[in-house]
């Protein structure tokens, strides 16, 4: 069974540009989570999808971040326009419908560098 995949693995962009990160959860997992770790800081929750609906987006830092999960399958996280402080590693995780955060499977992450 394929695990959670994320694309790209690395992205280097300039301040002001737009970047879109993609996450493909494990097939059949209704719950999808986004997290990020900025340099030197802790991994922090961004938002949680249940299928295509945003269950909780309280961790989104500001309105430059937009997450979508059309059709309840893969998800995208767009940063527009990117700022220097957005640099870090963005993780996606998924869990089964009846599972919670404790049954999450994480992807390898996307390392975003904003210059």
């Amino acid at each position: 069974e394929a695990g959670v995949t994320q694309f790209p693995s690395h992205s280097v962009i300039e301040k002001g540009q737009t970047v879109t990160l993609r996450c493909d959860p494990i097939s059949g997992h209704d719950n999808l989570y986004w997290y990020r770790r900025v340099m030197g800081k802790e991994i922090k929750f961004l938002l949680h999808f249940v299928k295509e609906s945003k269950q909780d987006e309280s961790g989104m830092p500001n309105n430059r971040f937009l997450a979508e999960r059309t059709g309840g399958t893969y998800s995208t996280l767009k940063v527009q326009p990117a700022e220097l402080e957005d640099s870090g590693v963005y993780f996606c995780a998924s869990s089964p419908r009846t599972g919670g955060w404790n049954e999450q499977f994480f992807g390898p992450g996307t390392r975003l560098t904003v210059l």
Binding site: V4, S9, Y33, Y35, R37, E42, I43, K44, F45, H48, Q55, D56, S58, G59, F91, C92, A93, G100, W101, N102, E103, Q104, F105, F106, G107, P108, G109
Partner: protein, 113 residues
């Protein structure tokens, strides 16, 4: 939110038992304690979870004292492949949201030959 504190790094030798302690003084009644392992260029991977006393699985043991203000992850007879960052998480699992999770800074365990 319950904040967690862990040592930044630990070194050990192959074959030794490693104990990593996490402090969580503000743990709430409905919080569980979960440990994740992370290798370079990979996402965190669930290791073990517990609420109180002791939990053991094929990978590790988790010791939680009665006051639950700390917990200790025990890795028996570590090998070089156990070199990773270990995270202690505290949060509710039954009714809480993932936003209540507290990821600590993690402990970098380095196993030496």
């Amino acid at each position: 939110l319950a904040k967690t504190t862990q040592p930044i790094s630990m070194d050990s030798y192959e074959g030794q038992e490693v104990n990593i302690t996490c402090s969580h003084n503000n743990i709430a009644t409905n919080d569980y304690i979960t440990w994740y392992q992370q290798f370079p260029s990979q996402g965190p991977r669930f290791i073990i979870q517990g609420y109180k006393t002791k939990v053991t699985n094929e990978v590790a043991s988790l010791f939680i004292p009665a006051d639950r203000k700390s917990s200790t992850l025990s890795l028996p007879r570590v090998s070089l492949s156990d070199t990773a960052v270990y995270y202690c998480l505290v949060g509710p699992i039954s009714s809480g949201s993932a936003r209540q999770l507290t990821f600590g800074s993690g402990t970098q365990l380095t196993v030496l030959p």
